[in-house]
């Protein structure tokens, strides 16, 4: 297992008012993303635990693109990863942001 | 200890317990008076539909007819693994046996499991683990699942599993490991007449409430189960 934590500045706060959401499951090639509105609204924090070791550079690139595209300010993402592919990671992150925008 | 030795040591005043090809039933005279129903599995029998239905019949008949504690003696294999048993709904037969024992326990017939040999998986759940108090005898070898099957399911090699089994009580087979989780309440001393230990137990039977979670916490084998269950129970009560 490998753990790391990525902190980014965000252009603007994420939409919606929901406090917490969760998407995905931990399975081979899949991941769960728990998202909570708990960090300052111009920041974004992504904490990752993954079974696939040695992919730090890819995680960095995926998360940087994600923050650039969605500007998820104020959100903390906690990821349990079962070795998902980068496209799956991007998809789950996007799904998590969208869930936070849905009225509860 | 063999089943005969155990029964002799536990019921010096006599018993009529029969072992019918691994299916055990009968009764024993307690030193403190009255009879105990004895049911169980011996000779490492794999517990299948045909055996479970006999045992549950004995328990049900005794509930309607007798009084006194119920002793469940166990030296079984796993559940019987066969097409026929599954075809006929083995899960119902094993659950039914477990239900009968649990029902009896809460209706004046306290249940005591006596694990003196092997047991595993579904056979374990429907017999020894369905009692109020589970007693282990030294030399008992319970396993939840055998390592080759475990290897197939977890896709970890047998060697890795054997290595981990040495250091990891929560998954490793064995009486001591199970005792740590709270599954086995007490391990008797084979050097002391069992009748003494049985009478001591009967004289101070634990409360009917399932205390295995707290036991596992106190013994360190299950660090979280008790508290999680209590928290959920508390939240559930608030939803009333």
């Amino acid at each position: 297992m490998e753990d790391f934590s990525l902190r980014h500045d965000a252009r603007q706060p994420a939409g919606g008012a929901r406090k917490m959401a969760i998407v995905g499951v931990v399975a081979s090639g899949n991941l769960e993303v728990l998202v909570e509105r708990v960090v300052p609204e111009r920041e974004c924090l992504v904490e990752i635990r993954t079974t696939a070791e040695g992919f730090g550079a890819v995680w960095n690139a995926v998360v940087a693109d994600f923050v650039d595209r969605y500007s998820p300010g104020g959100l903390k993402f906690s990821i349990n990863d079962g070795g998902a592919r980068p496209d799956t990671v991007s998809l789950r992150l996007a799904q998590a942001v969208r869930l936070m925008e849905v009225e509860q | 200890m063999t089943l005969d030795e155990i029964l002799a040591s536990m019921f010096p005043a006599g018993h009529d317990v029969k072992n019918d090809e691994g299916v055990v039933y009968g009764s024993g005279s307690l030193r403190s008076g009255g009879l105990a129903l004895v049911v169980g599995v011996a000779d490492r029998l794999p517990l299948g539909v045909d055996d479970a239905i006999i045992l549950s019949a004995h328990v049900l008949r005794s509930i309607a007819r007798d009084s006194g504690p119920i002793l469940v003696v166990v030296d079984s294999d796993s559940q019987r693994m066969s097409k026929r048993d599954e075809l006929l709904g083995l899960n119902e037969f094993l659950a039914h046996l477990g239900k009968c024992l649990i029902y009896a326990d809460s209706h004046g017939r306290p249940t005591i499991g006596l694990l003196y040999g092997h047991t595993a998986a579904g056979a374990f759940l429907s017999t020894a683990l369905a009692t109020r108090v589970l007693v282990g005898l030294p030399g008992a070898t319970p396993v939840v699942m055998d390592l080759p099957s475990m290897s197939k399911v977890t896709k970890l090699s047998l060697e890795v599993l054997e290595e981990k089994a040495k250091s990891t009580p929560v998954f490793a087979p064995g009486l001591e490991n199970l005792a740590q989780t709270g599954a086995v309440h007490v391990i008797w001393d084979a050097g002391v007449p069992l009748v003494d230990q049985l009478e001591t137990l009967l004289a101070s039977l634990p409360d009917i409430d399932d205390g295995r979670g707290l036991l596992g916490k106190q013994r360190g084998g299950r660090p979280k189960a008790y508290e999680i269950a209590e928290r959920v129970r508390g939240l559930g009560l608030q939803s009333r």
């Binding site: 690139a61 592919r85 980068p86 496209d87 799956t88 991007s90 998809l91 996007a94 799904q95 | -």
Partner: protein, 548 residues
């Protein structure tokens, strides 16, 4: 006086030798090895059928058991190396040299044996190419084929899996070779004559039915959101704009996803009747919902598919069927159809390099090519116009003379940037090159050459290589849709942005597709059972695909 009929005499001598173990043309199964010892000579070219689906398994076992003193050093010329016995004959010394096209389940072992020098490799072909060589320089001396039934004269009924048989028999029988057929049963009258009796010399009644692999069944339950996204991109970004009506699909999950999105997503885009009407395609179960929804007009097939028999029979408007009602497939004709009469091939691969060359060869697997190089190549001899063909030609050469400009076949590679076990689809250098260097091959086993590929589709978008004007642009277009692979992360951001502005690269958002819409709920069928329902109970999937 010169003798001009030596081969015929030799053939007659072989047949006569074989007749010693036959009653008329009929040979008992237990005598099959003796028959082969009588009719096969050392060094013969032998076609042991050997298709990608059906297998003359009894005859392969018989060939494996021959006395190596009598039969040895054979040159196997067969399209499919599928059964373990197909390679065991090399281990035993029965055979020495191999020319083939496809090796699916034996791909790892064939690689090992090639590296170990156990097999002398002629070449890896595409089907049509190997069939062509049957008539020029790889004509079999002996063909060992499989059929469903035979009559006592030797007329053969192949059933739905006709596949390679007519081609193999034609090349063998008409050039003085010997044809042996294993059949599931001998009957008084065959349901239809697929191979006339005068081309068949011996018949062996097998004790069990010949093996057929259900190779084209993709369980919709295994289709991922990523595959659905690539399928949506392909439908909206290629099928629609080019108006592709005549096409071939590969066998991967992405194209299965396309088949299952036609009646839902395709319908929503208003494409019904405008695209995907005529196929050169095996009877894919995944296409049933589109057929039942009225999308598909006609399908010609290379082979059949286990479980599809009754459905095909009941849908003769769609499929080619014989007088008996069952499917008539033919690999050679269907490959020809794919080459000349289809405007698009779309399929997946294991590796794509920076120029778009693709290969399914890895250093540990030689899977062969099957039909992909043929489907996935421009037919230089093509002369008839069609809208997609002309439009692709125009994109490739906008300044050319309208009346002299060649059209282009659309050759689309579709896949996710990372495949199984996170192995990247895009590489700097193909494993095929490494293999060619290691084995001293004259030619690297490239499945589809980059200059034939017109589009690459991944979850990151579509690269239209027709619009690239230099090899540098081509490389950046490919890097631009290679996602987070090393190749993708090596892209030039500025150049990729410019390619995107020109429409060379189109991202999902450029096509109005939200990746979050790529949900399994839009598949017309999400399980094999759903497909059975679509078929009205006519499709009968093999047990291994069931969960009921």
């Amino acid at each position: 006086m010169a003798t001009w009929q030596l081969e015929r005499e030799a053939r007659d001598a072989r047949v006569q030798a074989g007749s010693a173990v036959a009653k008329g043309k009929i040979v008992e199964a237990r005598d099959a090895t003796r028959l082969l010892e009588a009719i096969v000579r050392p060094g013969d070219r032998v076609c042991l059928e050997g298709d990608n689906q059906k297998q003359a398994d009894l005859l392969s076992a018989a060939l494996l058991s021959v006395d190596v003193a009598k039969v040895n050093n054979l040159h196997m010329v067969q399209s499919g190396v599928v059964l373990p016995e197909h390679l065991d004959v090399f281990e035993r010394g029965v055979a020495k040299k191999l020319d083939f096209a496809y090796s699916g389940p034996q791909s790892a072992r064939i690689a090992t044996m090639l590296f170990g020098g156990k097999i002398e490799l002629g070449a890896v072909h595409t089907y049509l190419e190997l069939f062509a060589r049957y008539f020029i320089d790889l004509t079999p001396n002996v063909a060992l084929v499989a059929a469903v039934s035979a009559d006592r004269d030797g007329n053969l009924y192949t059933g739905p899996n006709t596949e390679d048989t007519p081609t193999v028999v034609e090349a063998t029988a008409f050039k003085d070779g010997v044809v042996v057929a294993q059949v599931n049963q001998i009957v008084d009258k065959v349901p239809r004559v697929d191979i006339p009796a005068d081309r068949v010399h011996f018949i062996v009644e097998a004790d069990k039915r010949f093996f057929v692999e259900p190779l084209f069944t993709r369980d919709p339950a295994a289709i991922t959101e990523g595959q659905i996204l690539t399928a949506m991109l392909a439908i909206k970004g290629i099928y629609g704009p080019y108006g592709v009506q005549r096409l071939n699909h590969g066998i991967g999950f992405s194209t299965a996803a396309i088949e299952l999105l036609l009646p839902t997503y395709g319908e929503k885009l208003g494409l019904k009747g405008k695209v995907a009407t005529h196929f050169a395609l095996n009877p894919h179960p995944a296409l049933i919902p589109a057929i039942e929804s009225g999308w598909v007009k006609q399908i010609h097939s290379f082979g059949s598919e286990v479980g599809m028999e009754n459905y095909i029979r009941a849908r003769s408007d769609i499929y080619f069927t014989g007088a008996d009602g069952s499917l008539r497939s033919n690999r050679a004709y269907c490959q020809t159809a794919g080459l000349y009469a289809c405007d698009m091939f779309i399929g997946s691969t294991l590796q794509i390099d920076l120029q778009g060359n693709s290969s399914t060869v890895t250093t540990s697997r030689i899977a062969g090519f099957g039909g992909a190089p043929n489907m996935g190549a421009d037919a230089r001899g093509r002369r008839h116009p069609s809208e997609p063909w002309l439009k692709a030609g125009q994109e490739a050469d906008p300044d050319g003379h309208v009346l002299l400009r060649r059209g282009r076949k659309l050759v689309v590679q579709i896949g996710e940037t990372f495949g199984d076990k996170n192995v990247p689809l895009f590489v700097e250098k193909l494993d095929a090159l490494e293999l060619a260097e290691k084995l001293n091959l004259d030619l690297a086993p490239v499945m589809i050459y980059g200059d034939d590929v017109t589009h690459i589709v991944t979850e990151e978008g579509i690269a239209n290589l027709l619009l690239c004007r230099s090899s540098d642009e081509r490389e950046q277009a490919i890097r631009g849709i290679a996602g987070y692979t090393d190749v993708g992360r090596g892209r030039d951001l500025g150049q990729v942005q410019r390619l995107r502005e020109r429409g060379v690269i189109r991202r999902p958002e450029d096509l109005g597709i939200n990746p979050l819409d790529a949900d399994r709920s839009i598949l017309a069928a999400r399980s094999i059972k759903d497909i059975v329902h679509w078929s009205g109970g006519l499709y009968e999937p093999p047990s291994k695909f069931r969960n009921w």
